[in-house]
């Protein structure tokens, strides 16, 4: 299952980012969320966009220290092995992966299969869908 975003259903409320940072980092700060949504009035229309982890695992493959681990399961970071080189962030194809304040990548672990961002999405713009 991967995260799926339907921009036409999104109202740009950012509750997903607030919830993600609250659960994962213990503070409310969209800059520390594992997903990013932007919703703005551009030119003459409203444009909604999102960046999500699509579980391509390129970040893990790019880590020369094997600090990012997964075994057909959620991504996780072995803090002691991460040297904050940023290789994982550079390789992320959706650019969703960002560093936290200390340089560690903010990996999305899909909240053990029940992502909080999905729970907090009021109008089902975010959902889980089967990988094709």
């Amino acid at each position: 299952m991967i995260l799926h975003y339907q921009p036409e259903k999104c109202t740009g409320c950012h509750l997903c980012e607030l919830a993600c940072s609250g659960y994962k980092e213990g503070v409310f700060n969209p800059a520390l969320a594992r997903l990013q949504v932007s919703s703005g009035y551009k030119g003459d229309n409203l444009v909604n966009e999102a960046r999500l982890c699509e579980k391509c695992f390129k970040c893990a493959d790019a880590c020369s220290n094997r600090a990012i681990v997964y075994d057909r399961g959620p991504l996780s970071l072995v803090l002691d092995d991460c040297v904050q080189c940023g290789a994982c962030i550079e390789v992320c194809p959706t650019a969703v992966l960002r560093p936290d304040g200390r340089g560690f990548p903010l990996l999305c672990d899909y909240c053990q299969g029940e992502p909080y961002c999905v729970k907090w999405c009021p109008h089902e713009a975010l959902s889980l869908k089967e990988v094709e």
């Binding site: 109202t11 509750l15 919830a19 609250g22 409310f28 800059a31 703005g40 009035y41």
Partner: protein, 587 residues
């Protein structure tokens, strides 16, 4: 101090000084945040008799404890100042993203004082605060102002700006943010204009903390699922405020032709289904689980609105049954920086003065062409706009027609006729900022609900309770459109602050806030004689629909008001008695 950042940013435009100071924690405990805490700061810092448009007035942009958290519907910002329209205390709220930006920049509030020598804007980029030259922005509409400021500072900042109406000190000039959100009423935009402040640009990238974030998220998620996303509130998402048009028409309280009627022959053209017919998207404020904003298509453009107050006061009340014309009027007001309620109200009043032959403003009910010229004339104070810019009260002082000048304390009526909802009459008469639907909204229970709208029975209690409820809710800050209980508010506030807050404590805070606003107005010379309604409401019966033949008889209104004063612990002149002040900690 979980729930608060503990810091207030103060910008003195006269001395060009910027500094951060500690938030007054005692005040924060007693007045919560938002509306209440803003009123407290203004009460303490803007003394009696200060001209609202002079450098001595201050304007406060105040967040609340819920701002920046995952608590839904917490994205609003309170703006508090002394009103140039009424001379009373004025608190407005505005949605969008600015409140969260201010809190994440590390401040609970931004207080602006003094007056810049020439047009400026203030940039708050986390800890970096600059007062910058805005002379190139003079005369620009809010859309272009915001667009240019975002080009310069990034799309991730929030902009609060004024249009030409604010620069020209129109007493009902508003503040716009996120292009289509407004702090509309009472002239907050004129206060910014009087300080030569074109805009406030904010970017906050920091965090907001809770004392017990796990517990907060658990109770907030439960409230989100079971209390917010229910039929009681989801109308805001599925339809938004335009759904009120049909409700008001069918209950005979839809202002039509300057409150001459409570039904509108063309209501079908401006009701919710018509708005939905041109709707292309929904938009929410930050942290809102509802999303009431309707983006609609008009010609080649996609723009937001109009809301119910605009559809009614600036629509049916001007005899306009052309939805696209109301959308254009709305857009003009937003861009020029005018409150659509007061702009609609003064236009309707001028139409009636014209039709009655009292003075010819060249405006007639239903004349779209002339109607669409009004916003620009008012904002620039040209032609008839020079006089219309004064508002309904000022116009009636000059030309007469006071009995149908639909205003209280100088603020124009919103979109609910009190002849068909008697408690609403009491709410208009006693709201601190004049005729206001945000202090209490008893129509939900009267005209739209189960209570008899044509009795004063129980209405004093209803209005008093709603005033306390809104005062507390708008201080935390939560949006009007989440009809949650004090208990749910307390359940979410306790883990945020790290102390057990009770529903009773919040209700008492609401009463304290409402009374402090009253004390401010009393200090400005207001008293019970100002708690009145225009004579039309008392003496001229409505003629159509379910309210045909109805007035709110003056003696009934007087009895309701007297009962209200007694319930409030106020004397017969509407002044809080010493024992009430002592009970509220206001002695």
């Amino acid at each position: 101090m979980a729930g608060y950042q503990g810091r207030v940013l103060r910008v003195d435009l006269t001395s060009h000084k910027v500094f951060a100071e500690e938030l007054n924690r005692e005040w924060a405990r007693d007045y919560l945040g938002g509306k209440g805490l803003g009123i407290k700061y203004i009460y303490e810092e803007v003394g009696p008799g200060i001209n609202a448009l002079s450098p001595g007035n201050k304007i406060i942009f105040m967040t609340g404890p819920f701002t920046g958290t995952v608590v839904p519907c917490s994205g609003k910002l309170s703006i508090v100042t002394k009103s140039p329209a009424t001379g009373t205390i004025l608190d407005c709220s505005i949605g969008g993203s600015a409140a969260v930006g201010i809190k994440r920049a590390g401040y609970d509030a931004i207080i602006i004082e003094g007056k810049a020598p020439d047009l400026v804007y203030i940039l708050v980029d986390d800890d970096r605060v600059e007062i910058r030259d805005a002379r190139d922005y003079r005369g620009l509409g809010t859309h272009e102002t915001e667009g240019r400021l975002k080009s310069e500072h990034g799309d991730d900042c929030s902009v609060l700006s004024i249009g030409p109406a604010g620069e020209n000190l129109v007493p009902f000039a508003c503040i716009t943010s996120d292009f289509y959100r407004q702090a509309g009423r009472g002239g907050v935009g004129a206060v910014m204009g009087s300080k030569n402040l074109k805009a406030l640009v904010v970017r906050g990238t920091g965090e907001v903390r809770a004392a017990d974030i796990r517990r907060l998220m658990d109770v907030a998620l439960e409230a989100f699922k079971n209390d917010l996303l229910t039929d009681t509130n989801l109308w805001a998402y599925t339809a938004g405020t335009p759904m009120i048009v049909e409700l008001s028409h069918s209950t005979g309280i839809l202002p039509t032709n300057n409150f001459q009627q409570g039904t509108f022959d063309h209501f079908e053209r401006i009701k919710s289904e018509a708005v939905n017919g041109v709707r292309v998207a929904k938009k929410a404020c930050t942290a809102c689980g509802l999303g009431c904003g309707n983006f609609v298509r008009s010609g080649e453009e996609v723009l937001e609105g109009p809301e119910y107050e605009t559809l009614s006061v600036a629509g049916s009340n001007c005899g306009i049954g052309d939805l696209d014309a109301i959308i254009r009027f709305n857009r003009l007001c937003d861009d020029l920086g005018l409150d659509t309620i007061s702009a609609g109200g003064v236009t309707a009043f001028a139409m009636e003065l014209t039709e009655k032959g009292i003075h010819d403003f060249g405006l007639r009910f239903g004349d779209v062409e002339k109607y669409l010229q009004v916003p620009r004339l008012i904002a620039s104070r040209e032609g008839i706009g020079a006089e219309l810019a004064g508002g309904v009260k000022s116009l009636s002082d000059t030309y007469g027609g006071r009995e149908f000048a639909m205003q209280v304390k100088g603020l124009e009526f919103p979109g609910y006729d009190p002849r068909g909802s008697w408690g609403m009459g009491l709410a208009y008469a006693t709201a601190p900022r004049g005729a206001c639907h945000m202090s209490a909204w008893p129509v939900a229970e009267e005209a739209y609900g189960e209570r008899d709208p044509f009795t004063i029975e129980g209405k004093a209690q209803l209005v008093r309770d709603l005033q306390h409820y809104n005062a507390a809710k708008f201080s935390l800050i939560l949006c009007d459109f989440w009809a949650l209980s004090f208990e749910v508010m307390a359940r979410m506030l306790s883990p945020l602050l790290g102390r057990e807050v009770t529903a009773a404590e919040l209700e008492l805070a609401g009463e304290r806030i409402f009374n402090l606003a009253r004390l401010y107005n009393i200090r400005e010379g207001f008293n019970g004689k100002d708690d009145v309604l225009p004579a039309r409401i008392f003496t001229q019966p409505l003629t159509t629909g379910t309210t045909a033949g109805k007035t709110l008889p003056e003696e009934e209104f007087r009895r309701m008001l007297a009962e209200y004063y007694t319930l409030r612990g106020w004397d017969e002149n509407g002044r809080p008695k010493p024992e009430k002040l002592a009970q509220l900690g206001l002695a």
